[in-house]
Symmetry: C2
Subunit: 367 residues, 2 copies
Amino acid sequence: MFQRRKSRKIHVGKVPVGGDAPVSIQSMTTTPTADPDKTLEQISRLAALGCDIIRLSVDNEKDCAGLKVISQASPIPVVADIQFDASTAIGAVRAGAAAVRLNPGLVRDPGQLRPVAEIVREYGVPIRVGVNAGSVGTDVIKQNRASGMSSREAFVAALVEAALRQCEQLEALGVSQIKVALKCSDVPVTAAACRAFAARTDYPLHIGVTESGTRARGIVKSAVGIGALLLEGIGDTLRVSLTAPPEEEIIAGKMILESCGLREAFPEIVSCPTCGRTEIDLAGLAQQVDMLVEEIKSSGKKIGLKKIAVMGCPVNGPGEAKEADLGIAGSKSGEQLLLFKSGKVLGAYPAGEGFEQFKKELLKSCR
Amino acid sequence: MFQRRKSRKIHVGKVPVGGDAPVSIQSMTTTPTADPDKTLEQISRLAALGCDIIRLSVDNEKDCAGLKVISQASPIPVVADIQFDASTAIGAVRAGAAAVRLNPGLVRDPGQLRPVAEIVREYGVPIRVGVNAGSVGTDVIKQNRASGMSSREAFVAALVEAALRQCEQLEALGVSQIKVALKCSDVPVTAAACRAFAARTDYPLHIGVTESGTRARGIVKSAVGIGALLLEGIGDTLRVSLTAPPEEEIIAGKMILESCGLREAFPEIVSCPTCGRTEIDLAGLAQQVDMLVEEIKSSGKKIGLKKIAVMGCPVNGPGEAKEADLGIAGSKSGEQLLLFKSGKVLGAYPAGEGFEQFKKELLKSCR
C-alpha cells in the first residue's frame, strides 16, 4: 500500500531499528532510576504489554548505579536519557545502557561530545539524537522568520537544522549508529520536520508528538502525528507521550500500528457505529465479542480468523462486512441475530442461540 | 504549513462545505427518525457540543414524516441517509432534508436516479455519494486482483471507480452539487482511496473511517485516517464513527481538527509525559489547570492566551515550553512550582501559592 522509507539499520540491544525491522514501541519509566526494584517491576509490566524498548532518565551517579542493576535484569533493552551533563552518558554506557539519548540543545559544546563518542564506539551502542523545542535557539527561529518564513515553517527549519548539525558532529567523531527524533507539541510542525529530515538522510527515525497533553487529547494528537508519518512510510520506532501511566502509552502505540496495517491485530474486530436503524444493543454485543475473543486467546488457543465484524443491522451488515471472515449482525426487527461467514449468510437465530452459534464458528477456527 | 486541496464549494443548508469553508463536523443520530422529540433532543445536545451537520436514517414514509418536523426545528442542517429505496430520497427532500446521502452500491439501476436528480435540482440540495465496502462488487475486486494488484490496491481502485461512476451518472442528470465519501474499516485503504479520488476530481470530500470498532480503537483509527488526510490538505467535512454515543464522535472530531491546526483550542494546554524526574503529581496538576480553564471559560470570560504548558520538572519545562504564553513546572525537589511567561521565568513559589499566582496570571489575560 505504501513504501516504507529505506533507513539505515541500527541495533538497540537485541532490537533492530530501521531498515526492514518492524516498527518498535517505546515508553519511559516514571520510577526513580536509582530504585532498581521499582523500576524493574514497571519495566516487566510494560514488556508484557508489548513494550520493545524502555527509556529511563539518568542524571547522576546514583542513577548510573541503579541502571547497572536494571540493564542486567531487564527483559528489554534500556536506553539512558541524558539531559544536563553529557558526561553522564559515559557512566550510563558502562552501566549497560543499550543506547543513550542526547538533546543537542543541552549539549552545545562539541568538546563534551568527544568522550561520549569514544565510549559508544567502544561499547557499540547507538546514540539517539532527540531534538525538541528546547533544542533550538530563539535566535535561529527569529532569523528564519526574518527570511520570510511563517512561524511554523521557521520552527520546522530550526528543528531540522539542529538535528542535522548534531548528526554531523557525531559522524565527525566516528559515530554512525544514530537514530533521530524531531518532536514538538504541534502536530503539523512535528510531521513536517520529520518529513523534511527523512528526505535528507537515511537515519532511522524515532517518531512521536511531545508534551501531548491530557489523556484523550494526547492519544488523538499522537495518533494523528504518528499515524500520518507511518502512512507515508516514515518512522522506525515510536513513543506515544501521555500524561498518564506508561502502560497506556504501549496500548495506544499498538493501536496506532494496527490502524496503519503495520501490526496485525489477531483477529481484527470491526463494528459499525449505531444509527437510528439499530434495534439491538450493539455496543453490548461488540463488548461481548471482544470479551469472548480475549477469553479464547488467554486460554492459549490461536484464533484462525483475520477479521470479525459486529454490525447493528442487515443494511450494512453483510455488505460492508464482506471482507470479514466471520460476522454477526442484528436483524431488522432486532429479534434475531444474523450470522455470516466470508460474505455468505449462515443463518438467522434468536439472540442467545445466535451468539452460541457465533462462538461455535469462532472455536472451529482455532488451532 | 500545508495547502488545502481546492475543492468545489457546496452548501448543506446554511453550512458551506468545500472551497475555503472550515472543515465541518458531522455525526449521525441513534434515535428513531420517526420519533421527532427524541431525535431533536439528541440533535440539540450534539449541536451544543459543536456538531455542524447531522445525518439521520430515512427508510420509509414514517421516517419522512418525522424528518419534516425535525428539519424545521433542528438548529443544524439535517442530511437524510437513504439506503434500500432511492425513491425515499424524494420524500426526504420534500420533508426538508438539507442533503441526501446515497450509497451507489444500493442504487445499481441508474433509472432510479432520475427522479432523485430532479427533486434535488428543484430544491437546490446536494447529494452525498457515500461509497464503502458494500458499494463494490466482489467481481470488480477479483478483476483488479487478476490484473496484478494486491488485495488492498484492488479494493482502493474499486472504491474510487464506484465513486467516479456514480458522480458521472449524477452529473449526466444535471446534478453538480455533490460531495463524496470513500470509507472502509481499513485505514491505509481509506486514505489511499480518498487521496486517489481527490487527485482526480474537485468534489468536496467527507472523510472518515467506517466500522471503526470499539471506542478506544475507533478513536485511534479515525485519528490516524482522518488526521493523515487533513495533514495532506484533503477533507472538507468529517465524521468520526464510533460504536459509542454520538457525543463522543463530536468531541473526538474537534480534537482531531485541533491536532491538525485546523481549529484553535483556546487556550491549548500541553503537558509533558511524566518520567523518573517528576517529583510532583503532574497528572493532578494538569487536571487542576484544565478545570480552572473550563471554569473561567464557562463564566463567560475569554482567555487571552494561546498556549499553556504544564511541565513535570525544570529540565524540559522552560525549554520545551518556550512557545507557551504561560507555563507552570515542578521544581527539581518537587517542593516548589516554577512559573514562566513567554519563555521567561517569573519566579518559584511553594505549591499552593504557585497555583494562585498561575491563576492570577491567567485571569490577567482575560477579556
